[in-house]
Symmetry: C2
Subunit: 345 residues, 2 copies
């Protein structure tokens, strides 16, 4: 008798008839029930820090679609917030932070996060844990140091992360201090999420793909390795998913040396190549183009089939290659769930 | 006695003590003499279509830095313009085109470009040709069909090319017609540039990196192969550089099957990996981060050295991994020229 949750089985290297399924940003604006819930909180950070609301947002897509994993509803920028940087979310304009424009601005930050500020996040975990169906895995997360630093320095989202890249070229020692601080903060934050009840943690390095090799080594690979190593050492029962978006050819080295249980593939990654290069050494997660899900129809069916074929016989968690888009029709998500559920039959 | 231009030697597979050097967007806003020249034309398209002005812009960086190649001053959007789409450039806001929002909008386009509209481009080539130093190679260019289509459909530059990706998912037959039309137009345009006097053509697929594998195959690989094959067949003395930005792991297949003489590496590409995977089969071009050039100092020196080391012994054209940024200090470009010229000593 095997009662292990399907997603956890795959993270332990097993293959399944049809892959477990969840979607990045599955708790989000494409859901009418989410938009209704969100409208009740004034600010997005308030929403993230309200355990009842955040737990409800986490559970909504599980109720509607029966995904194989719930992912904690929160935001990667709670870490800068807990480090003392001013963070706000303006509606329609994305996050705004007091930018770090020079090395001396780093003195504004605390040495370690104020974890009491993050207490509502851990309470959210506790609430969700007891409400989840028995076969649903529970995933916590954080942003990777490079990605979080890119927001902290620019003070907002940018298309090319130029402010952080330039800061790192001009002030490598100061940038290293920031990355180190974020690495330790990420470890502390993930350990506390695990202790509160998540079974898996995913580290999102959404902007890994813009860096030249030396910078990828210093600002992506090295901090990710530290985080994964500490999590696996200190909480050996927890699984880790590393998602370095745009890692490209670096994926081989990540799989060989990072020590995570699974690696996220972004939309542009070739799952045939990835399966071949990483054969059996880790599970792969991904990587449907969110625009194919938005488009629906034959494009959706064909893209899903191509990914299932490419990763057949490989430990595979089906997901998008990037977050689900707010305009995505619910019916297309239902179609996706249907395609995946029937895929092993 | 070998009087072959250094850049052409490398394109024929030779290695050189120090690599030939040019920079993408080397004729551009970082140069005060360019800004002065540009101020004399009302619109950017007028500027591109004025042979005297465009020839002068092409020659300015050669006079100042002695680069090993001049690249025709023009824009990839002259092709939509010659196909009858309304194109304009608003200052500070980038290009604006009448967007192609539905398959029926394709009927607005001519079957083949109005080459008489492009006559000033060919006259520019003729003027530059006779003014270039004897050791300076002359490069023409076009945008690749996918990249040009992404502007034609969105009606502007976009960070993720979502409108074109969505159009291609929803209307694959119509999108294929557009790609075919652009493929033929690109071939005709490049052949005419070669006949007017360029020795090399570079095809810029700036947005190749956002596509999933099936779409990369259909919209990047297949049209590029057609273009390269036709150019190499019909003008065997001309060399071709293919630059599929963000090609990532697809680079191996491009080098194996496209038939170009050189491949551009973008900023994030690992030149160590690229040299290993393509060993000797084609020249590689790149790939300094334009932000490292903007930053200057130790970062510039270290990044340049890492690239030179990685591609030592390989046919290599030194370049940026993306266009030079307008804010780049002239002194940093001078430092780069100095580093490259002394690198083989």
């Amino acid at each position: 008798m095997n009662n292990e949750k399907p997603l956890l089985s795959v993270l332990r290297g097993k293959t399944t008839a049809n892959p477990p399924l969840w979607l990045m940003r599955q708790a989000g604006r494409y859901l009418p029930e989410y938009r209704e819930l969100r409208a009740k909180s004034a600010s997005f950070l308030d929403f993230c820090y309200s355990p009842a609301a955040a737990a409800e947002a986490t559970l909504q897509p599980i109720r509607r679609f029966g995904f194989d994993a719930a992912i904690l509803f929160s935001d990667i920028l709670v870490i800068p917030d807990a480090l003392g940087q001013k963070v706000s979310f303006e509606s329609g304009a994305g996050p705004r932070l007091e930018p770090i424009e020079a090395p001396e601005n780093l003195s504004r930050l605390r040495d370690v996060p104020d974890y009491s500020r993050l207490a509502p996040v851990f309470e959210t975990v506790d609430r969700v844990k007891s409400a989840l169906p028995t076969q649903t895995a529970f995933i916590g997360f954080c942003g990777a140091p490079w990605t979080v630093a890119s927001y902290m320095i620019a003070g907002q989202g940018t298309s090319d992360q130029a402010p952080a890249r330039l800061f790192a070229y001009r002030h490598p020692e100061a940038f290293d201090i920031l990355i180190e601080k974020l690495t330790e903060a990420s470890i502390g934050y993930l350990l506390r999420q695990i202790d509160a009840g998540v079974e898996v943690v995913q580290i999102f390095d959404s902007w890994a793909g813009v860096l030249p090799p030396r910078e990828f080594e210093n600002w992506v690979f090295s901090p990710l390795r530290k985080i994964v190593s500490r999590i696996k050492t200190e909480r050996p029962n927890a699984a880790v998913i590393a998602f370095a978006r745009g890692a490209g050819t670096h994926l081989c080295r990540l799989v060989a040396e990072l020590g995570a249980d699974a690696y996220g593939l972004d939309t542009a990654a070739d799952p045939v190549w990835a399966a071949q290069e990483t054969a059996g050494r880790a599970a792969l997660q991904g990587n449907l183009d969110p625009l194919a899900l938005l488009a629906g129809g034959a494009a959706l069916d064909q893209e899903v089939e191509a990914i299932l074929d490419a990763l057949k016989g490989h430990p595979h968690i089906f997901n998008l290659g990037h977050g689900i888009l707010p305009q995505t029709p619910i019916a297309h998500v239902e179609r996706l769930v249907d395609l995946i559920r029937k895929s092993g039959a």
